[in-house]
Amino acid sequence: MKPVQLFCWHFMAYPYLAKDFDAKESSGWVTVPNSLWDNAKARGLYQEYIDQLVYADELGFDGMVLNEHHQNIYGLMPSPNLIAAALTQNTSRGKIVILGNLLPLHLNPMRVAEEYAMLDQMSHGRLVAGFAPGGGPETFNYDVPSANTREKFWEAADLIVRSWTEDGPFAHEGRYFPLRYVNLWPRPLQKPFPPVWIPGSRSPSTMTEVARRGYCYFLSSRSHGGETHRAQQEFAAVLEKHGDKYHPFRFGILMSTYVAETDRQAREECEEGVWYFLKNCLKGHLRREGRQLTYGPGVPYIPAAAWREYMKSYTPGRKLLGDVENWEELDASQSIIVGSAETVTRRIQSLIEKAKVGNLLIQFQLGNMPDHLARKSMKLFAEKVAPALRQASLKQFTEEYPGINFEQAAEAVH
């Protein structure tokens, strides 16, 4: 039996933008001028962020989560594997989740296979290997043509897993990455291979590909209204169709939280960081203000038939997460859950109850939130929120999924 798994996700935002950034700049992504980078201020920033993740490990989180972004202020991790390498040497307990390496951006998937294998060895088998195709901004970052991205992504993902499991050398005769000699040194430590997580945004084709391979599906949405629950149901149905059965550890979601002594204090302490995150970090990504690059006709990676379906219900100029105008709207989006330990526990618990989700990937540090506040929130969460969530979820999962040995099931998720 296993309770909900609580992970600490760090995005590593650039926190030193001037107050007039939003007024002056049209985007925080791809075209955001790198003349804004301030070496004097940024010195030691990576250390601060890495230390927060190490602290998460000390506080008893089940793992630490990293991901890959380029040319933006939202996440300063063009190579999450470098941060992961640092974590292998500074932590000893939690999983190291990389969600994920953006496979179509790499010239050769073998590089990812090799680095992940190294990280699995260096961490004594704590790696969770995430593969992601990248979205709109990444298309522009590295000039990745959109039309065949998904196909290219799955060829790379399958080749990596094959290189981990099959004895080499062998030849890979692929459409996108033909290779004469695939022969991985080192091999990963975990057998048959590290758990694989794949993010998706509710597209049936991604769910199907994930289900076919028995991997874990991670919903990349930042808002948690009814959609999260629906995504879980959709994924469960896809699993059934493939003769498989849903359980909470096949599914993960991303959320943000801030915990303080009281609801009022929580809001007061985190508000600056939250607005910095929403208005600056999400500009160009999840804001209609400026130019949103994440999804749209300029990054045509879904087939035309799927685009037609999308357009039928599309409302031009609709509000995205970063367009919320006040605290009440933000609260309703269930994206950033702010409050006392009691409030946060109640709200996250109801989310788990409804969405039957076993992997919570939680962002604590938001925007320009100072180190001491991020740490205080993490500590309160670990001490006052996590125990209640674990207890309740264990009971819920045991009742709802009788007969599933979670330990085994979790181990079998690859």
Binding site: D143, V144, R288, G298, V299, P300, M311, P316
Partner: protein
């Protein structure tokens, strides 16, 4: 659906036809028939008064099947060799605009004998140092979730040109137009997203192989394919009558100034 479907190498290709006379193959660009509109635009109807205008939709555009093996301009050229065979076009006039102009130039350097006369309008395809072709993909992402003003500015002389607003309206346009625009961008991303960006570095040194008389037409204010590309085409194609500038037009001269542009084409073809 307009026009007819022919089958080429087990794939469907939509072909529109209008007019009578000598065959004229028209290859479309971004703001055009097949890439936005289902039917011919006034420019094509003008040409049809003098010629039999044949306009296939590119792979993946309109009702033409998508081909996921299209990775580069070369693949599109070979697709068109098959289309020419299927249409039994042995010798014809070739007019291409924008991306269609690029495909036309690539066909012409490979099979100059098939082409009676060649017209390029705002054609992509060349690398000209210091004059990058615009990023149509970035500008296809709306501002404020609904404005395509910068895309219109790229493809036309001004964001507020009535034809620009008709073909690329803000917000949500006609669903089928939206899908066609998307399909064209998807094809564009296959052949023109990854550098080389809507160009083929080898094309320049092949242009001397074109033996047919040629005319290069450019909008006065092209914000997508800079005018220096037109000058380069005009200079390097051996029998080129020169670069004809359409005053007041942007990249899509055939859409913005259909009368003048068609007149230039017709006069050149009749010479």
């Amino acid at each position: 659906m307009s026009g007819r479907i022919i089958e080429v190498n087990q794939r469907k290709v939509q072909v529109l036809e209008t007019g009578q006379g000598a065959p004229l193959l028209y290859l479309h660009g971004f703001a055009d028939v097949h890439s936005v509109k289902e039917n011919f635009l006034p420019f094509h109807e003008k040409l049809a008064q003098q010629a039999r205008v044949i306009a296939p939709a590119h792979p993946g555009c309109a009702q033409t099947d998508e081909n996921k093996d299209v990775d580069a301009i070369e693949d599109v050229v070979f697709h068109y060799l098959e289309v020419l065979d299927a249409l039994e076009l042995k010798e014809f006039d070739l007019v291409g605009a924008c991306v269609g102009g690029w495909i036309a130039a690539e066909l012409a350097v490979r099979h100059p004998e098939k082409i009676r006369k060649l017209v390029l309008i705002g054609a992509a395809g060349l690398f000209v140092p210091g004059a990058l072709i615009g990023d149509v993909f970035m500008h296809a992402q709306p501002e404020y979730g609904s404005s395509y003003a910068t895309l219109r500015e790229m493809l036309f002389s001004s964001a507020n040109h009535p034809r620009a607003l008709e073909l690329f309206p803000d917000g949500k346009g006609d669903l089928e137009d939206e899908v066609r625009r998307y399909q064209m961008l998807r094809l564009g991303s296959r052949i023109g997203f990854k550098p080389p960006y809507f160009y083929n570095p080898s094309l320049r040194n092949r242009l001397h192989r074109i033996t047919s008389p040629a005319l290069v037409i450019w909008g006065e204010k092209d914000n997508f394919v800079p005018r220096s590309h037109g000058e380069t085409y005009a200079k390097l194609i051996a029998h080129c009558s020169g670069l004809k500038i359409i005053p007041g037009a942007g990249h899509s001269a055939q859409v913005e100034k259909p009368e003048e542009t068609a007149k230039s084409v017709i006069e050149f073809l009749a010479k």
